[in-house]
């Protein structure tokens, strides 16, 4: 048996290590571990509730808007407020832009290097597009990354026609890039590597929350679970986290724990393993470009294609949202937080379902819980020895001799993993997440 450790220091965000055991040319064992820990949930305890916005943003710069928004929505839930229409539209534009930046960025910065030896013109063109996307986030969010304009009550930025025009002009350029470069690059991979529609299937259980929502309309993405059939709702009471193979003991960090191999716990829904992200969103939405791949959607290439098609879908939708902005009308309203209570948010971030929950007592944060998308996908195995989604995608893989690491790394990369998010988070208060039901 050969043991292969995939521990590239670069082209992954955060410290991630994947180990596979190979016997007779097949992967017989896989372990996916996050190797670093920052502990935001511990950090937030005892702080002012408003601080959650600033800290949340800094969990991950790729999903800074998503985390800030989740924190703001949790506070709005706590206080019983909703953002005014301009605020909601600006939030969707900011979050949509973040999706585009994450998808394009992942493909060109992290994935493409597995397929082509040197960055070509498309790569540098993509870098220009990423810069434009940063500017778009700055236009309504103050700066990119980590602006301070998303607040409970809405968005501080004031809509004026100049900003709308500046945003729209850039969006058209980005859309052109998606249509003329990103998608053609993706489909070229499909032609060159058709076998990649057949590997990396993973757990084939998909999970998504409602995403990119405007009040009074169904979200661009729909809540649901897809296993053998589609269950169109998500109930957060069914979410548990298992720490058997993670460096935690009785909810505290314990880096010397025997048998553990990751800083990432194992979140489970109804005790089942679920994959989150673009593939889940696009399948649950029944987007024909992805469902049309049949079983091939559940594959190394399927995940890349799902992100590409999703980028196009979101980009086009953003053009519609721009028309809803009303210059001169407020983007935010005043919010007063109660001294105690609870709030939560379940949204879609670029990487998948994102959950924040806050408990406030005597005006301070009593408890804060975060479950990031990558925690689902990069999860370690659980007490029932169920492997996480990335681990399952590697299991059974036939690997050509001498290329074990490359083939496995391509599968890991297809999940757009962000160990940066995942490894920095734990939940401190036992297995149950919280008792609310979220109807989809």
């Amino acid at each position: 048996m050969v043991k292969v450790v995939i521990n590239p220091l670069n082209r992954f965000r955060g410290s991630l290590q994947v180990e596979v055991d190979i016997a007779e040319g097949r992967v017989v064992e896989a372990r996916c571990g996050g190797l670093s820990y920052r502990g935001f949930e511990e950090m937030l305890v005892g702080r002012d509730p408003w601080d959650s916005l600033m800290f949340a943003a800094r969990i991950c710069s790729e999903e800074s808007v998503a985390h800030t928004l989740a924190a703001a929505l949790a506070l709005e839930k706590l206080a019983g407020y909703k953002a005014p229409p301009n605020g909601q539209v600006m939030r969707n534009l900011l979050l949509g832009t973040e999706f585009l930046r994450a998808h394009i960025g992942h493909f060109y910065l992290e994935a493409l290097g597995d397929f082509v030896p040197q960055p070509g013109e498309n790569y540098w063109e993509a870098m220009d597009i990423l810069r434009l996307l940063g500017e778009m986030i700055a236009l309504f969010g103050g700066r990119h990354p980590h602006g301070s304009a998303i607040v409970p009550g809405g968005v501080a930025e004031v809509v004026d026609s100049q900003k709308v025009i500046n945003f729209e002009g850039r969006l058209h350029k980005v859309l052109l890039f998606i249509e003329k470069t990103y998608l053609p690059n993706l489909y070229a991979l499909k032609v060159k590597y058709p076998q990649y529609l057949n590997i990396g299937r993973g757990c084939q259980n998909l999970l998504a929350a409602e995403g990119l929502v405007l009040e009074g309309k169904p979200g661009l993405f729909l809540a649901g679970r897809l296993r053998t059939s589609l269950e169109p709702k998500v109930d957060t009471a069914e979410i548990t986290e298992d720490e058997k193979f993670a460096w935690f003991q009785e909810e505290e960090a314990h880096p010397e724990k025997e048998g553990a191999y990751s800083w990432i716990k194992a979140p489970r829904y109804d005790n089942q393993v679920y994959e989150v992200g673009s593939l889940a969103r696009m399948m649950i939405k029944k987007h024909s470009k992805v469902t049309g791949l049949g079983l091939g959607a559940y594959s190394l290439l399927g995940r890349h294609l799902a992100r590409g098609e999703e980028a196009l879908l979101i980009g086009k939708e953003m053009l519609q949202w721009l028309t809803l902005l009303k210059p001169g009308e407020p983007g935010a309203k005043a919010v007063t937080l109660p001294d105690k209570g609870e709030g939560f948010a379940l949204i879609e971030a670029p990487g998948g379902m994102l959950y924040h929950r806050i408990e406030v007592k005597r005006g301070l944060i009593q408890r804060y819980q975060i479950i990031t998308p990558s925690t689902w996908n990069l999860s370690s195995r659980d007490s029932s020895n169920q492997l996480g989604p990335v681990e399952q995608a590697l299991l059974g893989l036939t690997v050509p001799v001498g290329q074990e690491a490359l083939e496995a790394a391509r599968i890991v990369s297809s999940f757009a993993p962000c160990a940066g998010c995942a490894a920095h988070l734990i939940t401190l208060d036992g297995p149950r997440v919280h008792p609310y039901k979220v109807e989809g």
């Binding site: 965000r13 190797l35 670093s36 408003w50 601080d51 600033m54 710069s61 700055a138 968005v155 880096p255």
Partner: protein
């Protein structure tokens, strides 16, 4: 390589017109100078520790020079977690460092977890051997010509070191010789601050003039509040009470009075916007005590009157550090400087929200 005087370079870096950034500095000539030199382009090794990758995202937003120019013409980035496509193992990285010993620039992004030998930030783990970020920083720090601590985490611990800090995260200064470390704080730092600081050490082979917090003075000298485009509102006591209203943002938590950075002039993302212009408060993310000494955010700095305060980053920082040590809280620094604290019991942070 001294084709441009330091004084002139610093002057150009300080961005005469809003939003112009480094466009006035002849950075491509840095490239030309290095290419002409026998050793080729300067080698840069960029490591990420306890980080959110935000400093890298910010670097990618540079409008001048753009990323392509920086990576193709100006420096030889031999290692970067996202921006170098050739995958390197730890051994290969150490090999590169050995080959260029004494010559490469080490850029650190993120704080360094030091607890229990660095186990809160591992980069490699097998049955035979475990390597932590701490180990690698110490090894590579030894051989570096200069170390750029990119971002508040790498410089002072920042977000990663916020209480209770189980991993004992620290900034580069705690581990590496201060004479080699140039701090470029900001959460994230502006790309001009990163590239400008880097360009200075490359062009002149020595540190730019630094303040007491190890930052290049040219970028971190001005007080945001003193130079704020909303300053007139403050002087007229016109305060925004709801986000999105015109007015000075002090009541919604702006920390401009204790923020030393040139955002008001440079602006962000190619001059598109910046925090205060967007109506969001300044969080003073370049501050050595960010975030524990600068929160709660979105709450008025209690008891602060900044009128008449003239001070420097060094002074306000020292007072802040002393105030924090005394448990007074950094929000009161302004009052302290104005001579209002010390004679009576200060109002506690959190009880005086506007």
């Amino acid at each position: 390589m001294r084709y441009l005087s330091r004084r002139k370079f610093i002057k150009l870096c300080s961005a005469g017109a809003a939003g112009l950034g480094l466009a006035q500095t002849p950075l491509p000539s840095v490239a030309a100078a290095f290419t002409a030199a026998s050793r080729g382009k300067p080698v840069v090794l960029w490591l990420q520790g306890a980080a959110c990758s935000g400093c890298t995202s910010s670097l990618m937003n540079s409008t001048y020079p753009q990323l392509k120019q920086l990576l193709q013409d100006i420096v030889e980035m031999r290692f970067h977690p996202q921006l170098v496509s050739t995958q390197l193992t730890l051994e290969a990285l150490l090999q590169v460092a050995q080959e260029h010993r004494g010559r490469y620039i080490l850029v650190l992004e993120g704080a360094i977890p030091t607890a229990k030998g660095g186990v809160y930030g591992l980069i490699h783990r097998t049955e035979q051997r475990t390597s932590s970020f701490l180990d690698v920083v110490q090894t590579l720090g030894q051989g570096a010509k200069f170390i750029l601590a990119a971002g508040t985490c790498a410089a002072y611990g920042g977000i990663a070191a916020a209480q209770p800090n189980p991993g004992d995260c620290v900034g580069a200064n705690n581990l590496l010789p201060a004479d080699k470390v140039l701090n470029v704080p900001g959460c994230p730092p502006h790309p001009d601050w990163l590239i400008g600081s880097l360009a200075h050490v490359l062009m002149y082979g020595e540190m730019p003039e630094r303040d007491d917090f190890g930052r290049a003075r040219v970028f971190y000298e001005g007080v945001v509040h003193d130079n704020c485009p909303r300053r007139q509102y403050f002087d007229n006591s016109n305060f925004a009470l709801v986000f999105g209203e015109p007015g000075c943002l002090l009541e919604v938590g702006c920390r401009g009075p204790m923020a030393f950075a040139d955002c008001y002039n440079r602006q962000w993302n190619g001059g598109q916007n910046w925090c205060i212009r967007s109506g969001g408060p300044c969080l003073t993310c370049t501050h050595p005590n960010f975030p524990d000494g600068t929160t709660p955010v979105f709450k008025r700095m209690p008891n602060v009157s900044v009128l008449g305060i003239t001070t420097t980053a060094d002074t306000i920082g020292k007072v802040a550090a002393a105030a924090t040590a005394l448990g007074v809280g950094i929000h009161l620094v302004g009052s302290y400087l104005a001579g209002r604290i010390g004679t009576k019991v200060p109002v506690k942070g959190g009880e005086n929200h506007g």
